[in-house]
């Protein structure tokens, strides 16, 4: 669910950051449990893996813009770097605000995603940064 306005560029920076409207996300217990099963994480009650918010980048409110900035068919994104920094743990079955900014660089072709996870009251919980190198590919399509 979008809680902001239209995507807009981050002001005052030469590199073109594109700010997407923040969305409400949820650490739904069933989704977290499935994620834990596939990543070998321990089944600790209430535990939300620190990498779980990466899944939110694939939500319909975000993914189309990522695809557009990647460049569509013929460009293959390859994960180059990833970071997570937390100020507070995420709670299971809780709602958060997820705000994403994207920056496309041309040389070398690269897409950087910077996302912040906050409580509904605006307290920052953590940030993640995803760096994708973009390669032309002769066959197949970008995700």
């Amino acid at each position: 669910m979008a809680v902001g306005g239209l995507a807009k560029a981050r002001e005052g920076e030469a590199a073109a950051w594109l700010r997407l409207p923040p969305i409400i996300v949820r650490t739904e217990a069933a989704a977290v449990a499935k994620f834990l099963r596939e990543t070998g994480a321990p089944a600790i009650e209430g535990f939300v893996p620190l990498t779980f918010p990466f899944c939110w980048l694939t939500l319909p409110a975000i993914r189309p813009m990522i695809r557009e900035m990647i460049g569509g068919d013929g460009v293959l994104p390859v994960h180059e770097a990833q970071s997570f920094v937390y100020e507070r743990r995420l709670e299971i079955d809780s709602d958060y605000v997820f705000a994403v900014e994207l920056r496309r660089e041309a040389n070398p072709p690269r897409l950087t995603l910077d996302a912040a996870v906050s409580t509904l009251q605006g307290e920052i919980c953590g940030r993640l940064e995803t760096v994708l190198r973009l390669f032309p590919i002769a066959f197949g399509s970008a995700p």
């Binding site: 989704a31 499935k34 994620f35 099963r37 596939e38 990543t39 070998g40 994480a41 321990p42 600790i44 893996p49 620190l50 990498t51 990466f54 899944c55 980048l57 694939t58 939500l59 993914r63 293959l76 994104p77 390859v78 994960h79 180059e80 770097a81 990833q82 970071s83 997570f84 920094v85 937390y86 100020e87 507070r88 743990r89 390669f135 590919i137 002769a138 066959f139 197949g140 399509s141 970008a142 995700p143």
Partner: protein, 149 residues
């Protein structure tokens, strides 16, 4: 930084130079890549379609970088259950192909007791031929239960 209470570190709090691992994860079979794609939403065809992998110059679909990175926290929690991971940053150096596994190792490069117990670890994941596939750094804080605060 992660919000925690700040009691004294336990007597066995790790010291600089202490090592963990290697701990094995995988092999990551193609079925698991498909399941991970379903639960994470990361269905990049590079990881799922052998034709795309071939076009990218790979002999088989590579394992999702995030699937491998998601193994680091379980590795750390397997080492000690009295910690929380407040920071994890990683660079993906080489692909690991479907059917292969990784082994994760780490070394404490900084151990602080004050103002609160904190560790910084350098971590690596190596592929089946011991080649370096991920380098990472993590900051760990002492987990404090509400009962002990």
């Amino acid at each position: 930084m992660m919000q925690t209470q700040s009691p004294p570190a336990p007597a066995d709090w790790p010291k600089t130079g202490e090592e963990i691992g290697p701990l094995g994860f995988g092999p990551f079979e193609r079925e698991q890549l498909a399941r991970y794609a379903a639960v994470s939403g990361d269905d990049n065809p590079l990881h799922l379609d052998a034709r795309v992998a071939t076009a990218a110059g790979l002999a088989a679909p590579p394992v999702h970088g995030m699937l491998m990175l998601s193994c680091f926290e379980p590795a750390l929690l397997g080492w000690r259950r009295d910690i929380i991971v407040s920071r994890l940053s990683a660079k993906f150096l080489r692909p690991v192909l479907a059917g292969q596994g990784i082994s994760i190792s780490g070394r404490v490069v900084r151990s602080n007791l004050a103002p609160r117990p904190e560790l910084v670890l350098r971590l690596t994941a190596r592929g089946p031929d011991r080649e370096l596939v991920i380098v990472a750094e993590a900051t760990l804080l002492q987990l404090v239960s509400s009962a002990s605060s």
